[in-house]
């Protein structure tokens, strides 16, 4: 029997010990009227060889296209040792480290992760992860409402330049708790918030969300925006890309006082694209807010002989202790993803991450320049970008994209559904993985396909 070790003889022995005649008898407390007879919707049992055949065929069907698509999930190099180590059974099949003495490996690793992530964000503390970037932002919003002692407000200012799916996730998760999200529009020329257009008296606010880079890849004026938020007694929630942090000013240094909470998607640090998950959300904050932070937190302490060791701490915030008064209903984190990301950061180091970030930036610049040189392609925003940029195509975008898909190439993200004002606009990305030849392949296909359409330069 798959994954069941019992021999027939053992089964009989066990039943005799219990004092019943059949396994069926053990279910006699379930009312007979409720019993289910068969599972017709589940296929019959398959061997590993048969399942392997199915999965290989299906994985091959999905094609491994040449990827110029980002929009929140990025195709970066992952060193071979990252997942070889991460899938060691001792990491892969361990539980949440409640029994600290028997979980020092995972606990120390999480403490190292917290240190790396806090340093990357230049903030005091980090938790041990949340589900993904979008749900981390939702938790950050809830945390800010709890934590802002200068304001009783439940109003949050949210730029439209925050990832549309993040905004939808925030709406769904904070749903019924009386919090209002007010959108801030972006400047049509720069592609980011114009601080001049912010109101002198915005009213009582709990927090202002500031993305860097924003969804269009554009860099926001984070210093001015942070200071403006703090002047109005709002907390600052930074939404950042961890690769960009290697070269961009970290949230803890924004403006005069720094962001109060930073969160974002951890996927770029060692997690494959893999259809959108599992990824992980990171969250860092200032020391003063740590007791309002959701999720697992690991602390270093000593054992009864004075030897250093690691343990889950501040559990009084959590659902299994506080029940209905917990900071969040979150129970698990994304432990295995943190294993991967910690090893990834240790292997690359700060210099390696900088090189990744600088190459992403340079490749995207090259891609954007070469595409924008084509008849029928223009850049849309004039502010600097990190590793994504918006291009307007002077032809029906869906037709162009379909033609590029047919070349086994992902050309980017079509913005018009979420941003009607950006008709036929494409968000493109070239990470450090894309070579000059890859970029020329894209440009060549685009030129040929556009040549078949009437375009106006």
């Amino acid at each position: 029997m798959p994954f069941i070790p019992h021999t027939e003889k053992e089964v009989q022995q066990m039943l005799a010990t219990i004092g019943v005649s059949s396994i069926e008898e053990l279910f006699d407390e379930i009312p007979a009227s409720l019993r289910n007879e068969s599972l017709q919707g589940v296929p019959t049992q398959a061997t590993e060889m048969e399942v392997r055949r199915i999965m290989h065929a299906r994985a091959a069907e999905d094609g491994q296209p040449l990827c110029f698509l980002g929009a929140g999930a990025y195709d970066h190099h992952i060193p071979a040792s990252v997942w070889e180590l991460t899938t060691r059974g001792e990491f892969y099949t361990a539980y949440t480290p409640y029994q600290a003495e028997a979980s020092q490996g995972t606990l120390q690793l999480l403490y190292e992760y917290q240190t790396m992530m806090a340093n990357l964000n230049a903030l005091d503390v980090s938790n041990a992860s949340l589900y993904d970037g979008a749900s981390a932002l939702a938790e950050a919003v809830l945390m800010a409402v709890r934590a802002n002692r200068k304001s009783k407000s439940k109003r949050i200012l949210m730029p439209r330049t925050v990832h549309p799916n993040y905004r939808k996730t925030v709406d769904a998760i904070i749903g019924k708790q009386g919090i209002t999200i007010e959108l801030i529009d972006y400047d049509r020329n720069s592609g980011c918030i114009d601080p001049e257009t912010l109101p002198a008296d915005p009213g009582d606010l709990a927090a202002v969300v500031i993305p860097q880079p924003n969804f269009f890849g554009v860099l926001e004026d984070v210093d001015t925006l942070s200071d403006w938020a703090h002047q109005h007694k709002a907390l600052v929630i930074a939404v950042v890309n961890p690769i960009a942090l290697a070269v961009l000013k970290p949230p803890g240094e924004w403006g005069t006082d720094g962001a109060d909470i930073a969160c974002g998607e951890g996927q770029p640090l060692g997690i494959p694209l893999s259809s959108g998950g599992p990824y992980y959300g990171f969250m860092c904050c200032k020391q003063a807010l740590v007791r309002q932070m959701p999720g697992r937190i690991i602390g270093r302490t000593v054992d009864l002989e004075g030897k250093p060791g690691f343990t889950l701490t501040l559990q009084a915030r959590e659902q299994h202790i506080r029940r209905s008064k917990a900071t969040s209903n979150i129970c698990t984190n994304q432990g295995l993803m943190i294993t991967a990301t910690t090893i990834h950061m240790a292997l690359l180091g700060a210099e390696g991450l900088e090189n990744v970030a600088l190459n992403c930036h340079a490749n995207t610049q090259q891609l954007v320049q070469k595409l924008a040189d084509l008849q029928g392609v223009d850049t849309v925003f004039d502010n600097p970008v990190f590793h994504e940029s918006v291009l307007r195509i002077s032809a029906p975008l869906d037709e162009i994209m379909q033609a590029l898909h047919a070349q086994n190439l992902l050309p980017g993200y079509a913005l018009q559904d979420e941003y009607p004002e950006l008709e036929n606009c494409l968000l493109v990305c070239a990470t450090e993985m894309r070579t000059d030849e890859d970029i020329d392949t894209y440009v060549g296909h685009m030129q040929r396909i556009l040549g078949k359409h009437d375009t106006v330069k």
């Binding site: 798959p2 999905d62 480290p97 970037g133 969040s328 432990g335 700060a350 090189n355 600088l358």
Partner: protein, 482 residues
């Protein structure tokens, strides 16, 4: 020793990142980072050795028996890992077109269909990232349903006192007040108490069945009727689905919404605390509110259902479509088991639990509910040992580690004093179960002879018992260079 303490300035792994450092001239200096982040500078071999050694300081299913009640720590098939990590799956961008995701989407659609059948629900959405997120989705759907009915009087959610902590925490996140329902002496929900508090203010009842007390809720029909007659909905917490897989379906018990923990029942790895996956299933009346995206199939092609197709959806719970890689692992596991294997899961996990429970009783341990059948788990209470020997459940738990067994769940559920919630799962062999109960008895004997010795356990782990109070008072969450 921390990885940072092995770090040396200038040591790099040049093969793991691009060698070139193109200049970034267009970005103003005010937006650039000035001081490099403190990250380790170690060689590849140092890093590999460091994390290999850390892994060896863990208990895991692959190395130890892990009878952690309500957590279903069963064997995680290696095929689920290797086949879900095929290059085509890893390279698929979550926003890629449907035409370049048919292989992955076929797996997801079939998983939705299988989970529908296993739970007896009308429709399933796979997107919640964990059990707690599934609960949030479930309660949000209950709320959305009442709102759509124009029924704004329903402000309370009923939760039995034996419930997981996530249940009340979730209800509060959805804007509800929580009312606890007591449990009777036999471990069933106190039906009379339920009848007293249920009413037009009841939005729903959250229930785990079998409950966290390790017993099947026998009057589930009556409970469902009482709640439904009052206009409330029934929420099923799927934490213990392993115990009834293929035997009885939550949909047939009358539940309107259910979340499943695929990291328990469908054997995806716990990974040191996640990632999990918490799909939700619903009855017909809640179908419009399911979270998006979901996979649809028209007979030829698979496509994503989004807000456009489901305008009443409670929305999105993550940026993309949940923990895809976990869902693939669950799909592979389900195919390997098939319909025959699914029934065996509940049969043999129940056999193992009842066998162990009998052994514990024979060795003189006190059961919390001696007159009941065990489900896939059962509770031993060490109240007597704590009083007579001065050795409590935590001491037993720590001493078990010295014998190479992970401790069962301790001090949960909260209503049984000094409890061990023991869940062996179907994948453990008889020798292991025998050995565990023998060790439990041996620890009791040790406690009779020398209680202080047992209270000092563990002795064989990388550290002795840790000072949790100090950890919370003198917070040290981030290493600082001296």
């Amino acid at each position: 020793m921390l990885i940072f303490e092995k770090s040396k300035q200038g040591r790099t792994n040049p093969s793991q990142a691009p060698r070139s450092r193109p200049e970034m001239t267009d970005i103003p200096a005010s937006l650039q980072r000035k001081k490099r982040a403190l990250l380790p500078e170690t060689s590849e071999m140092q890093t590999v050795r460091h994390y290999t050694r850390l892994s060896q300081q863990n208990f895991s299913i692959d190395t130890n028996f892990y009878p952690l009640g309500s957590c279903t720590m069963k064997y995680n098939p290696r095929a689920s890992n290797s086949l879900s990590m095929l290059p085509g799956f890893l390279a698929r961008h979550p926003l890629g077109p449907d035409s370049m995701g048919q292989g992955y989407m076929a797996c997801m659609y079939e998983l939705q269909e299988m989970l529908k059948d296993v739970t007896g629900m009308k429709a399933v959405s796979l997107t919640p990232a964990a059990g707690a997120q599934g609960e949030l989705a479930g309660m949000a759907m209950i709320r959305a349903y009442h709102d759509a009915q124009g029924d704004d009087q329903r402000t309370e959610v009923l939760v039995p006192d034996a419930a997981h902590g996530t249940n009340p925490a979730t209800a509060v996140m959805c804007g509800y007040k929580v009312r606890e329902i007591p449990t009777d002496a036999e471990g069933d929900v106190d039906l009379e108490a339920l009848k007293e508090v249920v009413g037009p203010q009841t939005a729903g009842l959250m229930l785990t069945n079998p409950s966290t007390l390790g017993v099947f809720e026998r009057r589930i029909d009556d409970i469902a009727r009482v709640v439904h007659e009052a206009g409330g909905l029934l929420y099923y917490d799927g934490a213990n689905l392993n115990a009834i897989l293929g035997k009885v379906r939550p949909g047939d018990m009358g539940f309107d919404v259910i979340h499943m923990n695929l990291h328990k029942t469908f054997s995806t790895p716990h990974g040191g605390g996640g990632p999990g996956a918490g799909p939700v299933g619903v009855s017909e009346r809640l179908e419009p509110f399911l979270p998006v995206p979901m996979v649809a199939f028209d007979g030829d092609n698979y496509s994503w259902l989004t807000e456009k197709d489901k305008p009443q959806t409670i929305g999105r719970l993550s940026a993309f479509s949940g923990n895809a890689g976990v869902l693939l692992r669950a799909y592979i596991y389900a195919r390997l088991l098939g319909r025959e294997g699914m029934v065996r899961v509940s049969e043999y996990s129940t056999l193992n639990a009842n066998y162990m429970m009998t052994l514990c009783q024979q060795k003189g341990f006190d059961l919390a509910y001696p007159g009941r059948r065990a489900t896939h788990e059962f509770i031993v209470t060490l109240k007597r040992q704590t009083k007579d020997l001065g050795v409590n459940t935590m001491d037993f738990a720590k001493r078990l580690l010295d014998y190479g067994f992970h401790a069962p769940t301790t001090y949960f559920p909260l209503l049984v004093p000094e409890c061990l919630l023991i869940e062996p799962t179907e994948t453990e062999d008889m020798e292991t179960l025998d050995a565990f109960v023998d060790v439990l008895k041996k620890i009791e004997e040790e406690a009779v002879e020398n209680a202080e010795y047992v209270k000092g356990a563990p002795y064989t782990q990388p550290v002795r018992r840790l000072d949790d109070v100090r950890a919370a008072r003198e917070l040290d969450l981030v290493w600082e260079k001296e």
